[in-house]
């Protein structure tokens, strides 16, 4: 535990350049992970309701069945 934390400290946080890099990279990664996870949760809650769930029925047949007016 102590070895791991000291390793992390010495590798990432000790020098300013590495710490800044760590901050930016981890911010990017965490946002990506958060957005992906929340979008996946959202899609599972709303399964079958969104356009992406039903578009396969309409995307196969281009320009037809327009029968209005």
């Amino acid at each position: 535990m102590a070895g791991l934390s000291s390793f992390i400290y010495n590798t990432f946080l000790r020098r300013n350049v590495t710490m800044l890099g760590t901050v930016f990279v981890s911010a990017f990664a965490m946002q990506l992970a958060f957005d992906t996870a929340s979008q996946r949760t959202w899609d599972s809650i709303n399964k079958g309701r969104q356009w992406k769930d039903i578009k396969h029925a309409y995307i196969q047949k281009p320009e037809e069945d327009e029968d209005e007016e």
């Binding site: 958060f34 957005d35 929340s38 979008q39 959202w42 809650i45 709303n46 309701r49 969104q50 356009w51 769930d53 039903i54 578009k55 029925a57 309409y58 995307i59 281009p62 320009e63 069945d65 327009e66 209005e68 007016e69």
Partner: protein, 334 residues
């Protein structure tokens, strides 16, 4: 304050009455300020505040009776019947629109509502990816003609619609709409869910709330139809949704309530096309801010822990009557 003073006066009146009833009971003097022999005079003393209290209570009650009730500028018929509150699935905080329903609702709008009502603030491009594919939307747009920019001779020609065009209106302007509809203007439906009290509930109730015939005693003007949900109950729009009026492409049975539900959900989408993204973004904001709030609480406790748990000791200076004893002694030890 009023109740308390009334209570107190009532209690003292009761005590005075008890005093008057048993004159020998001197123990009740402990509860009342008056002694046994002053009991008769205490009744007179309490009569004034009791009467004032009764007068105040009566005045307030009379005032509330006169002016405290709800004042409605309109009769209930002019207000319109309050719509039933339906458990809309898409109105839940964690639910998107049912886009299959949006597609059906758009079909209902095109085939039924669009003959009178415009949807002027919805361009074809917003249909792409929510209701129909790009090819379907393009084909739909090309069915209508729009004005071009002026050409070299300054003439404005017609061109087929593009995705950036807005849905065509059935009438050129409001005056034409009024002239064609007996003086009544069919409102634009782009924001109608936001623009009416009750929103989805109201529109659904209105669409499905036409009785077979007006109830006895209801006055329906010439050219109007009776609908209890419409303010004034006389609506120029007749009942339009009947069972199997449209034929859904996905096989859903087109009952009138099904069509009303679909078109209401579609109109809600037209009014709030950002709803799906807004709800998702709201949940993300709640998640992030709850984490930040927990961190801030932890930091506060962390920072305040030594301050909260410290012990402050006060050692008072030794009091002595002789001020000379505080002076340093010149030669105590040395």
């Amino acid at each position: 304050m009023l109740a308390r003073s009334a209570l107190r006066s009532a209690r003292s009146v009761g005590a005075a009455a008890r005093n008057a009833a048993s004159k020998t009971a001197s123990r009740s003097a402990s509860t009342s300020s008056s002694t046994a022999e002053g009991a008769a005079s205490s009744w007179k003393t309490n009569a004034l505040p009791a009467g004032a209290t009764a007068f105040a209570v009566g005045t307030v009650a009379w005032y509330c009776h006169l002016y405290g009730r709800n004042v409605d500028a309109m009769t209930p018929a002019e207000e319109g019947l309050h719509p039933t509150q339906y458990p809309w699935e898409h109105a839940k905080w964690y639910k998107t629109f049912d886009h299959q329903s949006l597609r059906r609702g758009f079909q209902v709008y095109r085939e039924v509502c669009a003959s009178c009502h415009s949807l002027a603030r919805v361009p074809y491009r917003t249909l792409v990816g929510t209701i129909m594919t790009v090819d379907e939307a393009k084909a739909l747009a090309e069915e209508n003609e729009y004005d071009t920019e002026p050409n070299d001779e300054g003439e404005i020609e017609k061109r087929p619609g593009k995705l950036s065009d807005y849905l065509p209106s059935p009438y050129k302007n409001d005056e034409a709409a009024r002239a064609a509809n007996n003086g009544a203007l069919p409102p634009d439906l782009s924001l109608i869910v936001k623009a009416r009290h009750g929103g989805c509930d109201y529109i659904f109730s209105l669409l499905t709330g036409y009785p077979e015939e007006p109830p006895a005693g209801a006055v329906v003007q010439e050219g109007l139809n009776f609908n209890p949900y419409f303010p004034g109950t006389g609506i120029a729009m007749a009942r339009v949704l009947y069972d199997d009026l449209v034929e859904y492409e996905d096989g859903t049975k087109a009952t009138s309530s099904q069509m009303a539900k679909d078109v209401v959900e579609f109109l809600n989408w037209a009014a709030e096309p950002e709803m799906d993204d807004r709800k998702l973004m709201g949940w993300k904001v709640l998640a992030v801010t709850s984490v930040l709030f927990a961190i801030s609480v932890w930091v506060k406790r962390y920072k305040w822990a030594p301050i909260k748990s410290r012990k402050v000791v006060y050692n008072p200076p030794i009091q002595s009557s002789n001020i000379l004893s505080k002076l340093p002694k010149p030669d105590k030890k040395s």
